[in-house]
Amino acid sequence: MPEEFEPKIVAFFCNWCTYLAADLAGTSRIRYAPNAEVVRVMCSGRIDVQFILKAFAKGADGVLIGGCHPGDCHYQEGNYKALRRYRLVQRLLPQMGIEEERLRLEWISAAEGDRVRVVINEMVETLKRLGPLRKAEGERAADLVEVA
């Protein structure tokens, strides 16, 4: 029987809100899908679009961005910068063959540990429905480096 597809999620969480929420989820012993690898960044505004695209290129099936609620950014407006980039990159991804749902932005405050559970579980379900991002080797174009 083929194993069920387990999507990989790279989650960029801001230091002041969403990372603390994930911490709270842990200390509260909230159970949720183990598919997300969390990368702590100081602010969602620090998330360069390069980080997102590199995650997809390196094998992530989904990318999750977590930041402070609007108005709550530790650095005043970093989360607005993240939002603007997110809205623009959402227009780029379908052109690259990446469904919009593979990238998600959520505002999760330090008090919302259970929201981390809900969002990650939802995302895992969505990604299982979408399937792996990359086709299997042999079904996609050959690399020149390998052609040699």
Partner: protein
């Protein structure tokens, strides 16, 4: 003995060849200083002449164009073997260039689009007992350094005369530049923009325009006027020639050395100047950018992290 130099073109438009000729009188100095042993666009040497040389006999090969056919790959490998240095010349060789936008589809997608309802050339045909073959068209377009190791890069679509002349100088210098160097200033295009002083301290835009939508003021910062000018994300060296032609920068010189994925960084720089904080407001502003890949990855899709259609392709530049 004068050093031997070769020029070759892969998937390109010929503009890079023009860029060499644009050196005008200076091209004669180049011709006097070196022995040009191969240059299909201008001289009658053949592939077999190159194949007959000793390995490493050519001092520098300048290769422009992306790699998208089996013959281009063969030629790139041949020149690599015969040359001490290989220079990726121009945006297509450096980053994949305009032909690289084909990575949004596959080889058959390209052929269907171009030859729709027409005769499609056969890979192999027989004529008077001889078999004629066409090179294989790869499913993806590659920057030159995905096909062979590349020593230096000369950016631009095409490289500007100054960048070409400076690159020749740099290559003749002792010691030579660090391997892997992009032979152009490592700073943003804005730094050499004649409208630099007209750029407001803090650009905030509520609307973007296409160049076809309204006239561009010939004196003010083009970005501040609402046209997505990619100067802030693009390497200098062109002499701001598009700006001088009253058009926004489209990023042909690619990124500075601090950036790995040009389009992602250009996208960040444009998104960062959107004024709104609400989703609807932001989306309204972004409606002015009709084609994000075409805007931000016009010259660099094959060298990007994703490379194009993410599921279909081998990884881009890591």
């Amino acid at each position: 003995m004068k050093p031997k130099v070769a020029f070759y073109w892969c998937a390109s438009c010929g503009g890079c060849e023009e860029a060499v000729l644009d050196l005008a009188e200076a091209v004669l100095d180049v011709a006097a200083a070196v022995d040009i042993v191969f240059w299909p666009v201008a001289l009658d040497f053949k592939e077999a002449d190159v194949a007959g040389m000793d390995d490493g006999a050519i001092a520098i090969s300048f290769v422009n164009g992306a790699v998208r056919t089996s013959h281009q790959l063969e030629m790139a490998r041949l020149l690599r073997r015969k040359s001490k240095l290989v220079v990726a010349f121009g945006a297509c060789a450096q980053l994949g260039g305009i032909p690289g936008l084909a990575n949004l589809t596959t080889a058959s997608g390209v052929l269907d689009e171009v030859y729709r309802d027409m005769a499609v050339p056969l890979r192999e045909s027989r004529e008077d007992g001889a078999t004629l073959t066409l090179p294989e068209l790869f499913d993806a377009v590659f920057a030159l350094d995905r096909a062979i190791p590349v020593d230096y890069y000369v950016p631009g679509c095409p490289p500007s005369t100054k960048v070409v002349a400076d690159a020749f100088q740099a290559l003749l210098r002792d010691p030579p530049p660090e391997p892997g160097t992009v032979l152009a200033p490592n700073q943003a295009m804005c730094d050499e923009c004649p409208r630099r002083d007209r750029r407001p301290e803090d650009v905030k835009l509520a609307r973007f325009y296409g160049v076809e939508e309204r006239a561009i003021d010939p004196a003010d910062c083009i970005l501040a006027q609402g046209f997505p000018c990619l100067g802030p994300a693009t390497r200098a060296g062109c002499g701001a020639r598009c700006i001088k032609g009253n058009m926004p920068c489209t990023g042909c010189f690619g990124p500075t050395s601090a950036v790995r994925d040009y389009g992602a960084k250009a996208l960040c720089s444009i998104a960062s100047i959107v004024s709104g904080n609400e989703v609807e407001e932001i989306d309204g502003t972004l409606d002015g950018i009709a084609d994000p890949v075409g805007t931000f990855y016009r010259y660099s899709l094959p060298a990007s992290f994703l490379g194009g259609q993410a599921g279909n392709l081998p990884h881009g530049r890591q």
